[in-house]
Symmetry: C2
Subunit: 340 residues, 2 copies
DNA sequence: TGTTAACACGAAACCGTTATAGTTTGTCTA
DNA sequence: TAGACAAACTATAACGGTTTCGTGTTAACA
C-alpha cells in the first residue's frame, strides 16, 4: 500500500511546521497569505486529503452511523437503506449496514462491536424477530447508557426509550380493510404474522377494528398467523381452499402475492371473485398480474427521517431532552387486485 | 456522550502503566501472571473494548471495506450485499455500503472520499451505468495506483486491471435461449439493455449464438433494446402485440415480468402460447404467476467470492502478482413460464 | 562476591490531526 | 531606545492504542 501524503510530508517538503500546514489548509488568518497559498497549492497538487481516521480519533466522532436491519432481500428494507444513505451522505456521514438476519445474537454482536469499538456515532435499528420474541433489549439500553443516540425504525419496542420512526400500522391496515369492504367484500381473510412482531400485531388490530366499524363479524377462522417466511404456502392454500372468502388482507408483500397465487390456482379470479390487498410497496406487488393494491409505508421516507433524527441528536451537545416518535403516514395504493 | 473506558483509565485505577495494561490484555508473556489476571478481570468488569479508531490509526488499516453498487432496489444487488456482509463480518471487517444511483459523479465522490480519507482498506464495486457509458475509469485507476485493492463485480470493464467476479453472461443466456428452443420455440424475442452495459451486451451475444447453433434465423425485429428502467412497458408492449412470437428471453427480472404481463394482457397464455425466461433470480420471477424460469447468477455467492478475493489481497503483504477473474457459474432455474 | 540472565514492568515514540500555548521577528510608540 | 504589540510561525500536548527499548529487581552461577 503506497502511503498517502500527510501533513508531515507537506511540512517537510515546504520546510515549514506541521501546524503551519494544518492552519494554512484551514484558511487560518494566523498564517501569512503567501505561505497559505503556497501550502494550498502544494496540497492540491499532491491531492492531499486529511486522514479521517486521525480526525476521528482527535474529535472522538467518526462520522459513521450504523444501520442494523433484519434482512435485505425485502424491498422495504432496501428502500430504507436508500433513504438513510441518501441523507447521511449529504451530511457527510457514511453508513455501515449490518444484517442481523433476524438473529438476536448477531444483532447483539454487531451492536457491541460497533458501539464499544467506537466505530460509529449512532445507530438506526430495526429489531430482529428473535429479539422481539425474547424481549431482551439490554444491548440497546446499554448503547443508550453510553450516551450514543439510537433511533428505532419500524420494528420497535416501548421497552427502550429513544427516538422512533414508525408507520401507523393500525390505521394503514384499517384503511386497507375498509377499502376492501367498500368494494363489497364481506368475508375478508387476514394473513398476518405471529403476534410478537410489533407491526404484525398492530396491523391485525387495524383489521379487527375495520370489520367492527363496518358492522362485519370477526371470524377467527379467517385469520391465519404465519411464523416464518419459509412455509407460508401451505396454510395460505388451506385458507383459500377451505374458506369461502371474497377478500384478503395480507400484512406483507410475500403473503399477498402467495395468496393471490393460491386464489388463482384455485380457479378464482382476482379481483372479481376475491379482492386482495397487501402491505409495503415493493416490486412484488407492483409487477404482479394483476397488480396488487397495497398500503405503502414509504420506506425511503422513513429512512430519511430516521437519519435526520439521529443527526439532530449527534449535532446538539445538550443531552437528554425528551424522545419523540415520528409516525409516517401510510398511503393506500389502489391497483387492479382490489377492483376498479 | 459518556466517555468509554480506556487503557489509561485502567492503568490509573490499578496503578500500573499503560503498557502493562495493553500487554496484559494481549496475553503477553512479558507480564506476570497475577498482574495479567488482575488487569483482565478489571477490564472485563468494566467491559473494556479497545478503540478501533486508535488501532486503525496505528496500524494504518481500518478493517472496513467499501461496497459500491448502482442501486439497491434490485434483488441481485441485495443478494450481493448479503454475501459480502456475511464473509466480511466473519473476518472482522465492516462493510460500508454506498449507492452510486447509476451516477458517475456520485461514484467518483464516494470513492475519492473513502479512498483518500483512509476510511476503508479496499473496494468492491459494480459500475454505474453512467460510468460505463462515459468509459471514464480514472477514479478507479487512481485507487489502484494508491495500492488499494479493488474488486469489480458483475458490471466490469477490461480497462481497469484488477480482480473481478463475473458470471458467464454469454453462456447463461445461451443456455436460457437453448432451453426455449428445446421447448419448441421458433420465434424468440430478446428484451435487452443498451449495449454499453457489459452484461447486457454479453447476454445479447449468448442469444445470438444460441439461435445460430440451433439453426434459427436472427430476426432483428424481435430484439428490443431498452435504455432506462422507467419506460420499458411501451416498447415491450409494442413488441408483444406486433410480432408473432412464441418465446421471450429478457435480460433482467423487470423486463421478464413486464413482458409476461404484456403477453397475458394480449390474450395469450404463458407458457402455452409464449414461453418466457428471465435473468437473475429475484423474488419477482419466483413469485410471479406463473413462476418465471430464469438464469440464476448467484448474487450471494458472487459477493462472498468478491470479499474473499479482496481480503486475500489485503492480507498478503507482497503486492502486484497477477489479477484474476472468477467466473461464477450460472444455473438455469426451470419454472412454469417455460413449459413443463 | 561479583557477573549475568531472566523476569516484570515502565518510558517513550509513533500513527495523523488539531488546538493551545509559546517564540521569534519587526514595527510603532512614548 | 526600551517597551508594547501585532504578525507569522513553531512547539507541544492531546486523542487511544501498540511496540520497541530500557531499567530495576531477583535469582542462579562461577
Amino acid at each position: 500500500m503506497k502511503r498517502k501524503i500527510t501533513l508531515k510530508d507537506i511540512a517537510k517538503e515546504l520546510e515549514v511546521s506541521i501546524s503551519t500546514v494544518s492552519k494554512s489548509l484551514k484558511d487560518s488568518p494566523e498564517i501569512g497569505e503567501d505561505t497559505r497559498e503556497k501550502v494550498k497549492a502544494f496540497a492540491a497538487l499532491y491531492n492531499y486529503k486529511p486522514n479521517n481516521i486521525a480526525i476521528s480519533l482527535k474529535n472522538r466522532r467518526t462520522k459513521n452511523i450504523a444501520l442494523i436491519i433484519p434482512e435485505i432481500v425485502n424491498d422495504f428494507f432496501g428502500e430504507v437503506i436508500g433513504g438513510v444513505e441518501q441523507v447521511a451522505n449529504e451530511k457527510g456521514y457514511n453508513v455501515i449496514v449490518c444484517l442481523s438476519n433476524e438473529s438476536f445474537d448477531k444483532e447483539v454482536v454487531n451492536i457491541d462491536t460497533l458501539a464499544h469499538g467506537g466505530q460509529v456515532d449512532g445507530f438506526i435499528i430495526s429489531l430482529s424477530k428473535e429479539t422481539m420474541l425474547r424481549q431482551d433489549y439490554n444491548h440497546l439500553i446499554e448503547v443508550e447508557n453510553q450516551g450514543m443516540p439510537l433511533v428505532m425504525l419500524d420494528r420497535v419496542t416501548e421497552q427502550v426509550l429513544c427516538d422512533k420512526v414508525i408507520v401507523d400500522d393500525a390505521r394503514g391496515s384499517y384503511n386497507a380493510v375498509s377499502h376492501l369492504i367498500e368494494q363489497g367484500c364481506k368475508k375478508i381473510a387476514l394473513i398476518t404474522t405471529v403476534d410478537y412482531i410489533s407491526v404484525g400485531h398492530l396491523r391485525t388490530q387495524g383489521y379487527i377494528k375495520a370489520l367492527g366499524d363496518h358492522g362485519l363479524e370477526l371470524d377467527p377462522s379467517l385469520i391465519v398467523r404465519i411464523d416464518g417466511i419459509a412455509g407460508c404456502e401451505d396454510p395460505i392454500k388451506k385458507l383459500v381452499e377451505n374458506q369461502d372468502i371474497d377478500g384478503v388482507f395480507a400484512v406483507n408483500e410475500l403473503f399477498a402475492v402467495t395468496a393471490m397465487k393460491a386464489v388463482q390456482n384455485h380457479g378464482k379470479k382476482v379481483p372479481q371473485d376475491v379482492a386482495i390487498i397487501g402491505f409495503s410497496d415493493g416490486k412484488l406487488l407492483k409487477h404482479a398480474t394483476p397488480a396488487v393494491s397495497t398500503v405503502s409505508q414509504h420506506g425511503e421516507e422513513m429512512g430519511r427521517v430516521a437519519v435526520k433524527m439521529l443527526l439532530k441528536r449527534l449535532q446538539s451537545d445538550k443531552e437528554e431532552e425528551s424522545f419523540s416518535t415520528r409516525v409516517i403516514k401510510t398511503s393506500l395504493i389502489k391497483r387492479e387486485s382490489s377492483g376498479s
